[in-house]
């Protein structure tokens, strides 16, 4: 392809700049500049071109930057991922993605596996001398008794754990069992309340020692029907609880005496454990279900162990013993916590 005179002049100017132009090319360039003032003004003469080239070479000569590429390059070479590792990780990632998608799509046990364990209450079953712990939904449990309306709800039994005498001494740390029947009394009908009141009068003579301790402490968290320091209102509620419970321990409420191990005190375990005990016709506990875990398995297990170790009075229906459920709750507090 033949160049135009101006393009040819550019090529010649470039050759002169680089010092590659022959004598014939220099003459050709001079002739073009003699006829083309525009190119002369734009490119300049031969000396101007050589001067520009010397500017570039002078700039090149003034550079003293000494970069080091070798170190970072060798690090990169040494850290270059190996083929097996690269492909292996890729294949592993693909397998993991497929597995996850399969689990979620199929709704398999993976979703159940990652579900928080506290979503289901803890079920502690006693089979002979063996204790079986499992998480099971209470709604699925078929309680072999007819649902009965409850007139009162026991909310808390406060257990104060005594400070351990020695951290390495592994023995039960509870010095005494203060069961403060801090009750939120929810009377469903006034007739039942009246009956409860009369029942209290009949049993008022047998006030257990833990009740006197309760009078001194006067817990502030008691329900709205109980005023602080009012032993009578508190006792009324307790009596109502006795009269309406389906199945109760034979030795009374204090028969269930959970003894947390020393490790619970050392770890500062606290919380409320609500539980249900299934009682058969003979008054023997058959199963303990934790309906509200305390957050510490050791506390839940302690409560269930204590609840399963006592004998109960079975529920009676029309004078006949039937299977029943005993519901209760224990609140564990550290020894130094006041209320």
């Amino acid at each position: 392809m033949r160049l135009s005179p101006h393009d040819r002049a550019e090529v010649l100017a470039g050759a002169i700049t680089l010092g590659e132009a022959t004598d014939e090319e220099r003459v050709e360039y001079r002739r073009h500049l003699a006829d083309c003032a525009k190119c002369l003004q734009s490119f300049g003469g031969e000396h101007e071109l050589e001067r520009l080239n010397s500017v570039v070479q002078e700039a090149h000569a003034s550079e003293i930057w000494e970069p080091d590429v070798r170190g970072p390059l060798m690090d990169r070479v040494n850290l270059m991922p190996r083929r097996v590792a690269r492909y292996g990780l890729g294949i592993l990632g693909v397998c993991l993605c497929i597995s996850l998608i399969g689990h979620f799509v199929a709704g398999s046990s993976f979703a159940q596996m990652i579900r928080p364990a506290l979503a289901d209450p803890l079920v502690i079953s006693y089979e002979g001398n063996k204790i079986v712990l499992e998480h099971r939904s209470v709604r699925d449990e078929k309680i072999p008794v007819a649902a009965q309306p409850r007139t009162t709800v026991v909310e808390h039994n406060i257990v104060h754990m005594a400070a351990p005498q020695g951290l390495t001494k592994a023995k039960p740390m509870m010095t005494h069992h203060e069961v403060a029947m801090a009750v939120t009394a929810v009377a469903h009908d006034t007739a039942t309340a009246a009956e409860s009141s009369s029942t209290y009068n009949a049993s008022a003579a047998n006030v257990p020692p833990w009740q006197s301790a309760l009078k001194k402490r006067a817990p502030a968290y008691t329900g709205p029907t109980i005023t602080a320091g009012s032993a009578r209102a508190e006792s009324l509620t307790i009596a109502a609880t006795y009269s309406t419970r389906e199945a109760v321990p034979e030795a009374g409420e204090t028969a269930i005496n959970p003894q947390p191990p020393a490790i619970a005190v050392q770890e500062g375990a606290e919380g409320t454990t609500a539980f249900e005990v299934l009682i058969d016709e003979q008054g023997t506990p058959t199963k303990c279900v934790i309906t509200k875990p305390a957050g510490y398995v050791v506390l839940d297990e302690t409560v269930c162990r204590a609840a399963m170790s006592v004998k109960y009075k079975p529920k009676t229906l029309n004078g006949k013993a039937v299977p029943g459920v005993y519901r209760d709750a224990f609140t564990f507090r550290p020894p130094n916590q006041q209320y």
């Binding site: 393009d7 000494e66 970069p67 070479v77």
Partner: protein, 173 residues
Amino acid sequence: MEQVYLNAAEAPVAHARIESLVREHQTKLSRYVRRMVGDPDVALDIAQDVFFAAYRTLQSDPERPLTAGWLYKTATNNAISFLRRKKIVRFTPLDRDWEVRGLRIDERSSASIDLQNAMQKLPGDQAAAIMLTSYAGYSSQEAASILGTSADAVRQRVCRAMRTLRTVMTERV
């Protein structure tokens, strides 16, 4: 057991050859790229990429002849790609010497600043032509083989680049 190399004897060969290439060309190549892109950090990255590409090439074929022209060709392509990307987000400099900040203080001679200011105004192909020939010392024929064009085209680009440099120097005066 993984097989990264075709045989065990090829690994030292590739290492030895790449070390030789780095020792011989790292300074010139890095300076060349710094002039092209105007940023020493970017220049180091590009130079490192060039040598790493050379290493990968030698890994697969240790006997392949890798010349300086191959390195400059790869570096030029990488620099031109960077300049094209940079053009999208390029900001207008507030001061005249903004382009020369990639140079060290003791490298900022009048000629060096003029050249760098002109470089920032040149298209990638003209910058590569003038840097390969007048700066790096290649002939127009060698530069043409590196850039994949003809020698006349290289000379024409050099002429146009010099015209820009001349304009910059005139403005500065």
